[in-house]
Symmetry: C2
Subunit: 354 residues, 2 copies
């Protein structure tokens, strides 16, 4: 008797990797995505290129989506959310709400939560960076969209900027708003974007203001050295406290902590490196499935560091940024482990009643 399928919730990088992987080891997979297409945040937010290799985000995600959804063992339901759960590992019954066809119950042996993150809303930062006041204050995501469109301009004028800066840790490492954690990817993403801006606009000066540049592992070679030496991006360790309009530009004020002196420099575009917060989908799915969530709403993994994917409920696993700040490599690696454990849960459980 065949084991029940596994359910993968979320069609971004982690969910697609989990679905494809489980199918390749012979498990049937039900893949549900609340949006009307697969690809996750890289598609919905309009990412340009992936960190660290600048790989085109849209075509890469389309390939991943096709690879997962075209597998004969994978059944994909778009515009579908998870409403309820009963049963236990190896024999769950999940109620899905499918746009156009209403509620439907499915039996699954294991579950992978891959519901991702949202970008931090810079209006909630402790520092008043004026995101909602000044059109030339944008986020990493806004910058991605422009880079994808191959036109990096000052939003207020439509003209190419002469000076651009990035302000790191907006919504991360900020205890006053309760986000003490580091969002892990923003140093890499900002540096990748800085390199892209310099390639697109060779006369534009690009500066990154940071607390610690967290270019862990090989990102050091792939991005940090490249940005400094080839792209001449300036990295300044410092704290930016204010962004104010002046003479048609923005003045960025703060402190250069290495030089021990105040910074006050005019900029045409300021990019806020917004961090990760749990997505609404992550918070909701966590509640529906009854798994423990840490205080911000990310899904808890009590077995970490040696089990990165098991949640507090046997048979339910998590992959990617639903479990906290994760980079793409983390997400697809976790997807492999989560899918494998979900398949094992489905197979090792008592065979369901036919």
């Amino acid at each position: 008797m065949a084991a029940d399928p596994i359910l993968v919730i979320g069609g971004g990088p982690a969910g697609l990797a989990a679905a494809r992987g489980a199918a390749e080891v012979g498990s049937d997979v039900i893949l549900v995505e609340q949006r009307d297409r697969l690809g996750g945040t890289p598609i919905s937010a309009g990412y340009s290129g992936f960190t660290p290799f600048f790989k085109d985000a849209e075509s890469t995600m389309n390939e991943m989506a096709a690879s997962a959804s075209s597998h004969p063992r994978v059944t994909t339901h778009l515009e579908t959310t998870v409403r309820a759960l009963t049963g236990a590992a190896g024999d769950f019954t999940v109620t899905l709400d499918r746009a156009g066809s209403g509620e439907e119950r499915v039996r699954v042996g294991g579950i992978v939560i891959a519901t991702g993150f949202d970008h931090f809303d810079p209006g909630k930062a402790t520092q008043m960076y004026g995101y909602y006041e000044f059109p030339d204050v944008i986020t990493l995501v806004d910058a991605e969209r422009m880079l994808k469109a191959k036109t990096f301009v000052r939003p207020s004028t439509g003209q190419p900027p002469e000076r651009v800066c990035f302000v790191q840790c907006v919504g991360s490492r900020d205890r006053r708003i309760g986000n003490e954690y580091c969002s892990k990817v923003c140093c890499g993403v900002a540096t990748k974007e800085a390199i892209e801006i310099r390639e697109m606009l060779p006369d534009c000066r690009v500066t990154i203001f940071y607390i610690d540049m967290r270019m862990y592992g090989f990102w050091e070679n792939q991005l940090y050295w490249k940005a400094q030496e080839q792209s001449k991006v300036t990295f300044i360790r410092g704290v930016i406290t204010e962004i104010l309009p002046k003479n048609g530009r923005l003045v960025v004020k703060g402190e250069d902590t290495t030089m021990g002196r105040p910074v006050e420099v005019p900029m045409d575009v300021v990019v806020l490196s917004v961090g990760m917060v749990p997505s609404k989908g992550t918070i909701e799915v966590g509640k529906v499935l009854g798994v423990l969530q840490e205080k911000h709403g990310f899904i808890e993994t009590p077995g970490a560091p040696l089990d990165t994917v098991s949640t507090s409920v046997p048979g339910i696993y998590v992959a990617g940024a639903a479990a906290g700040p994760k980079d793409l490599e983390d997400s697809v690696s976790m997807a492999g482990l989560a899918a494998m454990k979900a398949v094992a849960a489905a197979r090792q459980a008592p065979a369901p009643v036919a």
Copy 2:
């Protein structure tokens, strides 16, 4: 007809997770380890506790080893190395060299390389830190061994130190020796050890000299805030250029780059935060299996970031620090993906001739 087993090379965290995972989805596994026991570097190097939760390393690895090797689908060969490879994905023939029983050929459908890393030899650092000259200059690994033995002392006197410092990035981010990469885990490990030293020796002052503190993700909460606020560890952004003996202590010289002034402080113990280099096993196995290795000898993963484990040879995958600097979470997550892909390779290939 059953698929061929998969071969997992290396019995550390990544290899054990891969072996157990593959067995749980129904694959037979041959697990080979060159040492005479399982557990990998955490055991052979005598780690005390794991980053970030201080989980006891020896008992944790023993549990992982038992969990993998006790599975009926896992066959473990200790004191065994890989000598040769023929065939292709789904139908490899691997020559093993087993201590006591000589060479043996096995047929496997897929392979997971989990051969790990070595600790950087501080004698090879650009800066002359005196590791081989001054007994009170030790490494992160020496410190782990003392912490495991519950006795943190000055090696030269056997007495508890009053002042201890960590020097980060020894052998990492150092282009002059060719290790440009960041070793990823040393910031976390040093901070974990600093907390442990402060708990063991409440009167000992502990300082960490760093370039960037890379406490990515939740390590920020789990270690960095804790070290500063609860354990009163001092973090100084600076560059240490010399360590010299003076009046029976060590004098650490360099620059506090935040304060913009020279540092010259006496210390009883200096801990060099040595980074990761490819293990000899990784370099050798890479050659025997014919997979591409990057210039330092780590195994290449050409599909990164969206495929973290596929090597240049179909059917051969890599997990953990054999692929570059990885933390424990990376290692076990990659193990899941690598094992799943290896199982899929074994199953999807043409069935072997009986």
